[in-house]
C-alpha cells in the first residue's frame, strides 16, 4: 500500500470523503466506522449524533492505548512524590518511563520520583503461583529505600487474570507502615476501551484514598483547583505564572507537577476549574457533591481563551479589586501576544489543519489555530465520549455498555463535617442568570464549521486517506502517527507530548505555538521532496556540456 499526495486538492464533498474512507473496509467494520464519522452541521445544540467510547475493531491500527496507560501514564505519571510501582512484567512500566514530557519541579522538599521506573518484573513463577508475595516484598523494599509519603500500585493485564488481590496487599502494607499511604489501581489494560477508563480508575482512587486527608487551611484569597492539566512541556508552569500574577492561589493541579499534599488538601479550594473535560469532569462533580465546591469549564489553550477563562474565575469570586487585577494582567500580557500573532499571520492565514488527539485537545487547540487564521477541516478525539463532542446535555441519554459498566462510578454524598457550599443557592442562581455557566461544556462539534468531518478513534488507514484526499497543511496527532504523515510531505505536530518545546498554554504559550506552527507549515524542507533531475528528467544528449 503506497500513497502519494501528488493530486491537487479538488473540492471534495464531505459525504464523498466519508464514503471513500469507508470503501475498503469489510462491511461490518464499515457499518461501525460510519457511526463514528460525523459530518458536522454545527447547528446550535442540534449536532447530529456521533458514536464514541466504543471498542476498537481488532486488526484496525488504532491510535489508542490502554487503561493502564491512562491511569499510570496520564494521571499518576506527573505526581512527583508518589512511588508508583507497576505490578506486572517489565514492559508496561518501562514504556511509561519518562516518555510523556511532564515537567516537574522538585520544590523545596526535593522529593521527585518521576525520573525513576519501578516494577515488580513478574516472572513465570509469579504468574503460576501468584504475585502477591513479590508485590508485598517490592512495596517493603520501596519503603525501606525511599520512605515516601505514598506508594501506589498499578495492575497490568496478567495481574487481573491470575487474581492477585492488590488492594488487600496495599491495605496491609499501609497499616504496617503507619506513615505511608499505600493504595492500588485495578487498571488492567483490557478494561474499558481506551485510556479514558484508566483516567477514571486513577481519579477514583485518588479521590477515595487521598482527597480530604489534610484539612489545614491554606493561605490565599482566591483559591482554586486546576483539574485536568498535566504540565506537558511546562503548560502548568505557565498557567501558574499567570495565576500568581492575578493573585489566584492554585491549591491543587490534577495532576501536572502535583504532590500528595495537593490532592490531600484540594477540598479546601473554593472553585474547581476544569481544563480537560474528558479525563476529570467526574472528579469535579464529586468535589461539588461531597464538599460543595462548584466547577466551571475553562481553557488555557489560546490567548483569547486564556483571557476568557481568567475573567470567568474573577467573575465567580466577584470581587471588584480582583476583577480589576485580572484585567490589568490581561492588558499587560496581550501586546506581546498580539505582536507575535501579527508577525506570523501573513504566513499562516488560510492554511488548513486536522487535529486528532486526546479527549479535549482536539477542541482546545482549535482556539490557537483560529488565532493564526488557520482552518480546521477535520478533527476528532482518540478516547473521548459523546459529551466531549456534543456537549453535556447528551449525558442523560448516554447508553451504558458492558465496557463502561466495568468502570466503577463512585457513589459520593455530602461530607458530614466538611460539606460547605461555597455559594448559597440564591447566589448560584443569580450568577447563572448573569451568564455564569456551572457544570457546563458544549463539546467540540458546535465550535466547528459546517461540513467539516468529526471523526472518533481515527486510525492509521483513515488518517492516510484523509491527508491524501484533503491535503491539509498540517496534521496533529501522536507519535505513532507522526512519520507516516510526514512521509507524505505534510508536517505533523504531536499534540500529546508536543514533540519538543512548549509550553503552549497561557499567553507565553500562545506565542510559542504561533512560532512553532509557523516553523512547521513554512519549513523549506517540504519543498525538497523531489530532486532536480526528478522534476526535469529530460536529457538532451550524452556527454554534452551546456
Amino acid at each position: 500500500m503506497a500513497t502519494m499526495t501528488k493530486k491537487k486538492l479538488v473540492q471534495w464533498d464531505p459525504a464523498d470523503v466519508k464514503a471513500e474512507l469507508l470503501s475498503k473496509y469489510p462491511p461490518k467494520v464499515a457499518r461501525k466506522r460510519a457511526k463514528q464519522i460525523m459530518i458536522n452541521e454545527a447547528l446550535e445544540n442540534e449536532t447530529p449524533e456521533i458514536t464514541a467510547n466504543v471498542r476498537t475493531t481488532p486488526g484496525i491500527i488504532t491510535m489508542r492505548g490502554c487503561t493502564y496507560a491512562g491511569c499510570k501514564g496520564v494521571i499518576m505519571g506527573p505526581t512527583r512524590d508518589f512511588v508508583n510501582i507497576v505490578h506486572g512484567p517489565i514492559g508496561c512500566s518501562f514504556y511509561a518511563w519518562l516518555t510523556r514530557r511532564n515537567q516537574t519541579d522538585p520544590g523545596s522538599d526535593g522529593e521527585n520520583y518521576m525520573p525513576y521506573c519501578f516494577s515488580t518484573d513478574m516472572q513465570d513463577s509469579d504468574i503460576i503461583f501468584g504475585g502477591e508475595k513479590k508485590l508485598t516484598q517490592a512495596i517493603q523494599e520501596a519503603y525501606d529505600q525511599f520512605h515516601p509519603k505514598s506508594i501506589s500500585i498499578f495492575a497490568t493485564c496478567p495481574v487481573g487474570l491470575i487474581g492477585d488481590d492488590i488492594h488487600t496487599v496495599a491495605k496491609n502494607m499501609k497499616e504496617k507502615f503507619g506513615d505511608c499511604n499505600v493504595f492500588a489501581f485495578s487498571c488492567e489494560g483490557y478494561k474499558g476501551v481506551s485510556q479514558s477508563a484508566g483516567h477514571h480508575i486513577a481519579n477514583n482512587q485518588i479521590f477515595r484514598h487521598v482527597v480530604g486527608e489534610n484539612n489545614e487551611e491554606k493561605p490565599g484569597k482566591y483559591k482554586i483547583n486546576l483539574l485536568g492539566e498535566y504540565n506537558i512541556g511546562g503548560d502548568g508552569f505557565e498557567i501558574n505564572r499567570i495565576f500568581k500574577k492575578c493573585g489566584i492561589t492554585n491549591i491543587a493541579t490534577f495532576s501536572g507537577n502535583s504532590t500528595y499534599d495537593q490532592f490531600a488538601s484540594c477540598h479546601t479550594a473554593d472553585l474547581n476549574v476544569v481544563m480537560c473535560h474528558r479525563s476529570i469532569n467526574y472528579v469535579a462533580d464529586m468535589l461539588e457533591t461531597k464538599y460543595g465546591i462548584p466547577w466551571i469549564k475553562i481553557n488555557f489553550i489560546g490567548s483569547e481563551a486564556t483571557a476568557k477563562s481568567l475573567r470567568k474565575i474573577a467573575e465567580y469570586f466577584g470581587d471588584k479589586e480582583f476583577i480589576d487585577r485580572v484585567e490589568a494582567v490581561i492588558t499587560e500580557e496581550m501586546p506581546a501576544v498580539e505582536a507575535a500573532r501579527e508577525e506570523i499571520l501573513p504566513r499562516t492565514e488560510g492554511k488548513t489543519a486536522m487535529l486528532f488527539v486526546g479527549g479535549s485537545r482536539a477542541h482546545h487547540y482549535q482556539e490557537l489555530f483560529k488565532e493564526m487564521g488557520m482552518k480546521i477541516i477535520s478533527a476528532g478525539y482518540e478516547f473521548a465520549h459523546r459529551d466531549d463532542y456534543e456537549g453535556r446535555q447528551v449525558l442523560p441519554h448516554l447508553k451504558l455498555d458492558a465496557d463502561s459498566r466495568n468502570i466503577e462510578e463512585l457513589k459520593v454524598t455530602a461530607d458530614e463535617t466538611l460539606y460547605n457550599p461555597r455559594k448559597s443557592p440564591e447566589e448560584m442562581k443569580a450568577m447563572q442568570e448573569a451568564g455564569v455557566k456551572f457544570k457546563h461544556y458544549e463539546g467540540m462539534a458546535p465550535d466547528m464549521d459546517q461540513g467539516t468531518l468529526v471523526i472518533d478513534d481515527l486510525n492509521q488507514y483513515e488518517a492516510e486517506k484523509l491527508v491524501e484526499l484533503l491535503k491539509p497543511d498540517l496534521f496533529c496527532a501522536g507519535i505513532k502517527e507522526k512519520y507516516s504523515i510526514q512521509k507524505l510531505g505534510v508536517p505533523m505536530k504531536q499534540l500529546h507530548s508536543y514533540d519538543s518545546g512548549g509550553p503552549y498554554a497561557g499567553f507565553k504559550g500562545a506565542i510559542n505555538f504561533y512560532h512553532e506552527i509557523d516553523r512547521l507549515v513554512n519549513s523549506k524542507v517540504w519543498s525538497y521532496m523531489k530532486a532536480p533531475w526528478q522534476e526535469n528528467p529530460q536529457l538532451s544528449a550524452a556527454y554534452v556540456w551546456e
Partner: protein
C-alpha cells in the same frame, strides 16, 4: 540532581526492579518482524502493549512503525482471544494487504493460554488467509526473558518458512541479531566484499531508514522476502551472530533443514569482526578482499594512533548480552577497562563470558545479568568511571555524576545517526572509536586547566 534518591549505599533488592535495563519480549518480536518484506507485525493482546511498542520503536527510529493489535477487552480476556484474532486477520488482509502477518503474543494472551497455531488453522479453514499470503507467529510471554528473547523467538519462528528442495542454493544464511538497519546493511556489504552470497534475516535496512520523498509506503522496499526465507533451507550453512539473539533460529534450521550452523559473537570491534570475516572466508573458500583488509588496517591504525587516550580508562556499560560481550571484548582489546557491566536480560552464561574476557584486566569488574540501572548508578557512585556507554536512559546518570556518555544500544531517543551509520565491522569500529574519543577528549578539553590546554591531541 535528577536521580536524587539514589544512595551510594547498596542494599539488596529481591522483588523491586528500579530503572530496568531491559524491556519486554513483544517489542523485540515486532522489530524482528519488521525485517521481513511486506510484513505487518500483529500484537495479540490488549491494545496498550502494541501502542507502547510502536511508540518506543518510532521514537528510536523516527520512522513510521505499523503494527496491529487484537484489541482485547474484558470478554476476550475471560473467554480467550480466538475471535478477536480471526477478525483481525480478516481485517488486516482486507485493509492493509500485507504479504505476511507476524503475530506475537503478549502477557495477556499467554496467561489466557491462546494457541496461535490452532487459531491460524482455523483462519485457514475459514478462508481468512488469501492465497499466496502468510500468517505465522511466535510465543513471546514477557514474564520470561526480555526484549532480546522476544527478538530471538520471532527470528526462530521465521525458520518455519525454510524449505529443503534438495538442491543447495550456494548461499550462506546470516542472522544478524538485534542490530540497527545500518548494521544489517554493513553486514551484507562485508559478505559481498568477501565474495559470499548471503541471505540476511531479518533485515530492517530499507524498512526503518527510508527516505522522505512525499510518498508513504506502508510496506517499504527493504526486508527479507518470503522467497528468501524459504530458500534459507537450501543454504550451505548459517552464521548466527549473537548467542542470545540468533542462536536458536540457527539451531532450528540445523535441526529442521539440516543446514549446519556456527554461532559467533556480534561483529563489534576488531576481534569479533575478524572472527566473522574469517568464518565467511572459510565457508566460501575464498581469500579475503584487499578492500576489507584495508578497512581492518585502518581500524588498527586508529587504535595505535590514539592508544594513550584509551589506556586504562574506566568504563561502565549497560545494554543487551550479545552487544555487551562484543563491546567488552573490543574495549579490553584496546586497553580500556570496562569495570561495571549490567544487562537486564537473564542468563548465567553472560556473567561467565564477561569474566573470561576481563580476566586479565588490572581493575576489578562488577558484572550482573538481571541487573538494573539503579544498581549500575550505585556502582558508579562507589567506583567512578571515565565513560558511560548505553541507551538514552543513561543520560540521567551521566548528568548527575558528570560522566561523558556514548549512546549505544536501545532505545536511543535523543540523538540521531544510529539507523544510518553502522557500528559493526571494521568501519563500525572506526565510528565507535570516533565516538568514544570525542566523548573523552571533549571532556578533557573542558576540564584541563588553562595552562595545560592543548591545541594538538
Amino acid at each position: 540532581m535528577l536521580l536524587r534518591h539514589t544512595p551510594k549505599e547498596i542494599t539488596e533488592r529481591k522483588a523491586l526492579v528500579i530503572n530496568p535495563a531491559k524491556t519486554c519480549q513483544p517489542i523485540g518480536a515486532m522489530y524482528a518482524a519488521l525485517g521481513i518484506h511486506g510484513c505487518l507485525p500483529h500484537s495479540h493482546g490488549a491494545q496498550g502493549c502494541c501502542a507502547y511498542h510502536r511508540s518506543a520503536l518510532t521514537r528510536h527510529y523516527k520512522e513510521p512503525i505499523s503494527a496491529s493489535t487484537s484489541s482485547f477487552t474484558e470478554g476476550a480476556s475471560v473467554f480467550g482471544g480466538h475471535s478477536n484474532l480471526l477478525q483481525a486477520i480478516n481485517n488486516i488482509f482486507t485493509v492493509y494487504e500485507p504479504e505476511v502477518i507476524a503475530i506475537h503474543t503478549t502477557c495477556l494472551s499467554e496467561t489466557i493460554g491462546d494457541d496461535l497455531k490452532q487459531i491460524r488453522t482455523k483462519a485457514q479453514k475459514e478462508g481468512k488467509i488469501p492465497a499466496g499470503k502468510y500468517v505465522f507467529g511466535a510465543s513471546t510471554p514477557s514474564y520470561v526473558g526480555s526484549h532480546v528473547t522476544g527478538f530471538s523467538n520471532m527470528v526462530k519462528a521465521m525458520t518455519e518458512f525454510a524449505e529443503s528442495t534438495g538442491k543447495k542454493n550456494g548461499k550462506v544464511n546470516i542472522i544478524p541479531g538485534w542490530v540497527e538497519p545500518a548494521d544489517m546493511e554493513e553486514i551484507k556489504r562485508m559478505a559481498k566484499l568477501t565474495g559470499v552470497k548471503s541471505i540476511l534475516f531479518p533485515d530492517t535496512s530499507g524498512v526503518l531508514n527510508t527516505p522522505l520523498t512525499g510518498e508513504y509506503k506502508m510496506f517499504p522496499d527493504g526486508g527479507t522476502t518470503v522467497a528468501e526465507l524459504k530458500s534459507t533451507g537450501d543454504s550451505v550453512g548459517t552464521l548466527a551472530l549473537g548467542e542470545w539473539c540468533s542462536a536458536d533460529a540457527a539451531i532450528e534450521l540445523d535441526k529442521k533443514n539440516k543446514v549446519p550452523c556456527k554461532v559467533l559473537d556480534m561483529p563489534f570491534g576488531l576481534k569479533a569482526t575478524d572472527r566473522f570475516v574469517d568464518a565467511l572466508r572459510k565457508i566460501a573458500g575464498v581469500t579475503v578482499s584487499d578492500e576489507l583488509a584495508l578497512e581492518r588496517g585502518q581500524l588498527v591504525d586508529m587504535i595505535s594512533d590514539m592508544h594513550e587516550y584509551f589506556y586504562h580508562k574506566k568504563v561502565a556499560l549497560v545494554g543487551d548480552p550479545d552487544q555487551l560481550i562484543a563491546m567488552t571484548e573490543f574495549l579490553v582489546s584496546i586497553d580500556i577497562c570496562p569495570v561495571h557491566i549490567i544487562t537486564g536480560t537473564p542468563g548465567k552464561k553472560f556473567e561467565k563470558r564477561i569474566r573470561e574476557i576481563t580476566r586479565d584486566m588490572p581493575f576489578e569488574v562488577n558484572v550482573k545479568a538481571k541487573g538494573d540501572m539503579f544498581l549500575l548508578h550505585q556502582w558508579i557512585k562507589n567506583d567512578p568511571v571515565d565513560l558511560l556507554m548505553g541507551n538514552t536512559y543513561c543520560k540521567y546518570i551521566a548528568r548527575d555524576e558528570d560522566v561523558p556518555l556514548v549512546r549505544w544500544g536501545f532505545p536511543i531517543l535523543d540523538r540521531q545517526g544510529h539507523q544510518y551509520f553502522p557500528t559493526v565491522g571494521y568501519k563500525g569500529g572506526l565510528r565507535l572509536l570516533e565516538k568514544i574519543l570525542a566523548a573523552l577528549l571533549d571532556r578533557k578539553d573542558r576540564d584541563d586547566p588553562e595552562i595545560k590546554f592543548e591545541l594538538i591531541l
